[in-house]
Symmetry: C2
Subunit: 169 residues, 2 copies
DNA sequence: TATTGTTATACTCTATAACTATA
DNA sequence: TATAGTTATAGAGTATAACAATA
């Protein structure tokens, strides 16, 4: 009978802030700096968003990937590891480690499934639910901080333009 | 006398495409999907940009970080490893491996510095210069593809709004 | 046979600490 | 003493391959 592996550190790099991702880093800066290009502007805005996202996470001890895993588990009452791997687009063993880490942090638990002993359901613990509630509140503030310098109309306009950029052309 | 370490693979994951970075992945999707939020729109646009960036790199065998290193070396005639580490905001040993990889790929060479035998200059090889020229051409196309569905006015507007988002508030 | 989870292994990127050679 | 580069080591994240238990 499979037992969850336990050898995963409980406090990941979520606590240590992951080096503010300089805009030069992803190959956009040196080419685009002079042109006021869309690519560079998008990159800079994304760097800012990333910084604010980590400020938002603060002392919760979560990484972005774990935030996503947590919210996927919170949302889907039928979540298991294979499904999580598919949702996150990661390999099975990676999902396993992710769940191990969330379990070690006391946020998630594995529940037996009646009638199928191969798998188990993933669910939030009480601590996990509290953390999710914290996250929901902070995400709302975070969204406001991103758009802090824009009027409602400008913000709507920006979202509209970004959606058109995001569409597969 | 220090000799450059040579044990670095020449063809990195630049060839293997790095898994298209699903928008769910960085903790933005599950919270924001319903709101049409700026955070989510920004994230989606960035995912699209990332995809196009890798399409652009194509068969050049480069990663985004190596593109940046290459362009930094191309731009600064006085580049060395410590300076490169500072520019990329990475640790010294990481910069070393980066340079080793670029050297193994035949794009960059280490040149002796008259009067200071501790360091050497980093410079592009002939192959490196050819690659950079290719990159410049492709970057121009890339920029156009990002904004393909926008008019000139819309694009300028979008850049303006993004710059305001990117500003530290 | 197929599915779920697991183990073993390896590779990349990153970091810190301690070292060498040189200034 | 300080600087440039290097080595050794470690940790997080990713992957593939092979496996056990169960369906």
């Amino acid at each position: 009978m499979p037992a969850a592996s336990k050898k995963v550190s409980a406090a990941p790099r979520g606590s240590r802030r992951p080096r503010a991702a300089a805009p030069e880093e992803d190959g956009l800066a040196r080419f685009d700096l002079q042109t006021g290009s869309l690519g560079y502007a998008l990159r800079l805005a994304q760097v800012r968003m990333y910084t604010l996202f980590f400020d938002m996470l603060g002392d919760l001890g979560l990484t972005p990937a774990r935030v996503t895993a947590l919210s996927l588990i919170a949302t889907d009452p039928d979540m298991n590891q294979t499904k999580l791997a598919r949702s996150l687009d990661i390999a099975g063993p990676s999902a396993l480690k992710m769940v191990d880490a969330l379990e070690a942090a006391g946020l998630v638990c594995r529940l037996d499934v009646a009638g199928d002993r191969r798998r188990y359901l993933l669910a939030l613990t009480a601590t996990g639910r509290t953390t999710m509630e914290q996250l929901r509140l902070r995400m709302a503030e975070y969204e406001e901080r991103i758009a802090a310098d824009l009027s409602a109309a400008e913000r709507a306009q920006l979202v509209g333009l970004l959606n058109r950029v995001a569409q597969r052309g």
